[in-house]
């Protein structure tokens, strides 16, 4: 029973949150609010999906929020210079994987710690964005911001974008050698190397993916917001890490998945904020509830890890006993 609870804790936590807020307010569990929730969670889901990949390799990407800002600032500047919206979005999106490749090179080839590289990048990219935007807010043209409100088959465009990103990453993670190699790298890089895995290439691709996700998340949020402010994307990396861990990714590497993991995690974070809004909760309660949910996720992560270690030990004893 305990094993079941621990193994399925991400989904159970989301269900508990949904039931709790449904009891708290009859306006929470309505079809319209569900669409709301999916739309608001679209950008967070994309970012959490990228972060899950990085966590699986036992790394971290602290620069995700700052990269979102740099992409948004570049896109805003281009739009203000009358560049076609689609062109501006594509050009700005290219910044994401480029920065990711730079991170990957420093981590995989120069042997720098992911924490240090991406922490430095957090300041560097936000500084570059501020310099680029001259710390001015930019209101974006209607032609760009209306994408955030567009619907396709009754589903908002940001939800489609998040769905496609999750689908592609899920396929990469479960149906390609690269996806499986990332788990091996995160679980034990030395063993992965001995098994013939090109660890450096895997790490480089992982950070490029994370950068691409940050760029797509930025553009998805930007179309909904219609403006770039100097605080855009601030602290989003922490929300993404929380969502990834809530979804079952381990901070120690080797575990986690984009679907359903990252999606569940991002939706849990979005549901908590949405539920508190709908209930018109006291503003001082927000950080307490959010912290409690993240704490529970960390607790379950610790329990899962302990369970894995115990299973490994039991297996070793069994093998040794058989000899």
């Amino acid at each position: 029973m305990t094993r079941f609870l621990v193994n399925h804790s991400p989904a159970l936590l989301l269900v508990a949150v949904l039931i709790g807020f449904s009891i708290g307010s009859p306006r929470f569990l309505t079809p319209q609010n569900a669409v709301n929730l999916l739309t608001q969670g679209a950008s967070a889901t994309i970012l959490a999906a990228g972060m899950t990949w990085v966590l699986v390799t036992s790394g971290v990407d602290l620069s995700a929020g700052s990269l979102m800002f740099l992409v948004a600032a570049a896109c805003g500047k281009m739009l203000q210079s009358d560049v076609e919206p689609l062109m501006a979005a594509v050009a700005a999106a290219a910044i994401g994987p480029l920065c990711g490749v730079a991170h990957g090179m420093l981590i995989a080839y120069a042997g720098a710690s992911p924490f240090i590289v991406t922490l430095a990048s957090l300041f560097l990219l936000r500084g570059a964005g501020l310099w680029f935007s001259r710390t001015r807010a930019m209101n974006l043209p209607e032609a760009f911001s209306r994408w955030g409100a567009e619907k396709l088959l009754g589903v908002p465009l940001p939800v489609w974008v998040a769905g496609v990103v999750v689908l592609v990453l899920y396929w990469l993670q479960t149906h390609t050698a690269f996806g499986r190699q990332c788990y091996a790298v995160g679980y034990d890089p030395a063993a992965a190397r001995k098994a013939g895995v090109h660890v450096r290439a895997a790490l480089m691709k992982t950070y490029a993916l994370s950068g691409a996700c940050a760029a797509i998340a930025a553009l998805t949020a930007l179309t909904q917001l219609g403006a770039v402010s100097p605080t855009f994307g601030k602290d989003r990396e922490f929300d993404a890490i929380a969502a990834a861990v809530l979804g079952g990714a381990s901070l120690f590497g080797g575990r986690g998945n984009v679907f359903p993991g990252a999606v569940i995690g991002a939706m849990t974070v979005a549901s908590v904020f949405n539920g508190l809004n709908v209930m018109n909760a006291n503003p001082y309660v927000y950080p307490l509830i959010t912290a409690a949910v993240v704490f529970l996720a960390m607790l379950f992560d610790g329990l899962r890890r302990r369970q894995l270690v115990q299973s490994a030990r039991t297996m070793r004893w069994n093998v040794e006993g058989a000899r």
Binding site: L130, R136, S145, A149, Q224, T231, N274, N277, V278
Partner: protein, 331 residues
């Protein structure tokens, strides 16, 4: 010796660069250190520009520092000003408590210190604070919003967007809002209090959720103008963003006086805006620090009473709105 030579050359080059890079100043020129907590909103950028312009008028040499939201870094910057024996310090602190060690350090070195925009916590020691009367300006802004909706049926459902709960200015604005609401005899029923942590994305999600839960909301106050793009996006999605006079117009008010608010006032989407007079506050701060550096006494708290700008006084008062000047420079 061979190993030492490159190091010596680098050291000489560095010293030469430093001596060339240091700004030249007359021996008796006054030097003021200006330490900003952040430059991450238009308000702070406008404040820094206004501060430098004001100091330039007095032929003062300026040492600038920005702490990027880190109080420890700001303390180091203030200590560096003290080590360089500046004649006065102007600080924009992150919060009321973290500035206390900076005030004590300046007091110990006998250097006058002025706090801009945020006051100190209790037991801070001698300093001068230049601050907007956040509570009174907000109260007057919300009163004006209520007055402008006098013909509507009561009670109206209302919403407030709250800033960072650790920021005293955000708290005072919320108190000013509550004061105006409580004295309105039930004209507004507050059905949503959205914490934003001064974050536009959280504001967008919060306003969307609140409108979803309370579709009859017709009165919104934002504790900072920089959250307006989020409010506008959420209102547009709910088909509630219409100019004043339209039957579905939502009464809107804000605080700061930035360029977006100015444009919204011009376009008749915004009913009232509480404006901090950046130019007045900067001139007060510079005046105070210079007076103290000459040994004169200054009142410990200098308040900016601000101004509420609305549709009826926009033309007469827009020169006091810093956002109007920023908007004039933008394309």
């Amino acid at each position: 010796m061979k190993a030492l030579l490159p190091s010596l050359l680098v050291s000489v080059a560095c010293l030469a660069t430093l001596s060339c890079g240091a700004p030249t100043n007359q021996p008796d020129q006054t030097t003021i250190g200006v330490a900003f907590e952040t430059l991450q909103t238009e308000y702070w950028v406008a404040s820094l520009d206004a501060m430098k312009a004001e100091l330039a008028k007095h032929d003062v040499r300026v040492l600038e520092a920005v702490a990027d939201g880190d109080p420890n870094r700001q303390l180091e910057q203030v200590q560096s000003f003290i080590a360089r024996k500046v004649d006065g310090i102007i600080v924009v602190p992150k919060d009321a408590e973290s500035v206390i060690p900076m005030i004590r350090a300046a007091n110990k070195a006998n250097i006058p210190i002025v706090l801009y925009n945020r006051g100190p916590g209790e037991g801070a020691g001698p300093c001068v604070t230049v601050v907007a009367d956040n509570r009174a300006i907000t109260r007057d802004t919300v009163r004006r919003m209520i007055a402008s909706a006098s013909e509507r049926s009561k009670p109206m459902q209302g919403m407030i967007l709250i800033g960072d709960l650790g920021d005293i200015n955000a708290i005072e604005r919320r108190e000013g809002f509550d004061e105006a609401i409580s004295e309105s005899n039930g004209a507004v029923e507050v059905v949503a209090r959205v914490p934003t942590v001064w974050n536009q994305e959280k504001a967008l999600a919060g306003v969307t959720n609140a409108l979803q839960a309370n579709p009859d909301i017709e009165f919104i106050f934002s504790s900072s103008d920089f959250l307006f793009p989020s409010i506008v996006a959420a209102l547009k999605n709910a088909d509630k963003y219409h100019p004043i006079g339209h039957e579905r117009h939502v009464v809107l008010g804000g605080f700061d006086g930035d360029a977006t608010a100015y444009r919204m006032l011009q376009d008749k989407y915004l009913d009232a805006d509480g404006v901090q007079n950046v130019y007045f506050e900067c001139s007060q701060a510079v005046d105070a620090v210079l007076k103290m550096s000459r040994g004169e006494t200054v009142e410990p708290v200098l308040k900016d009473q601000g101004v509420v700008i609305h549709q009826d006084n926009l033309d007469q008062e827009s020169h006091r709105m810093w956002g109007a000047q920023v908007a004039a420079k933008q394309p």
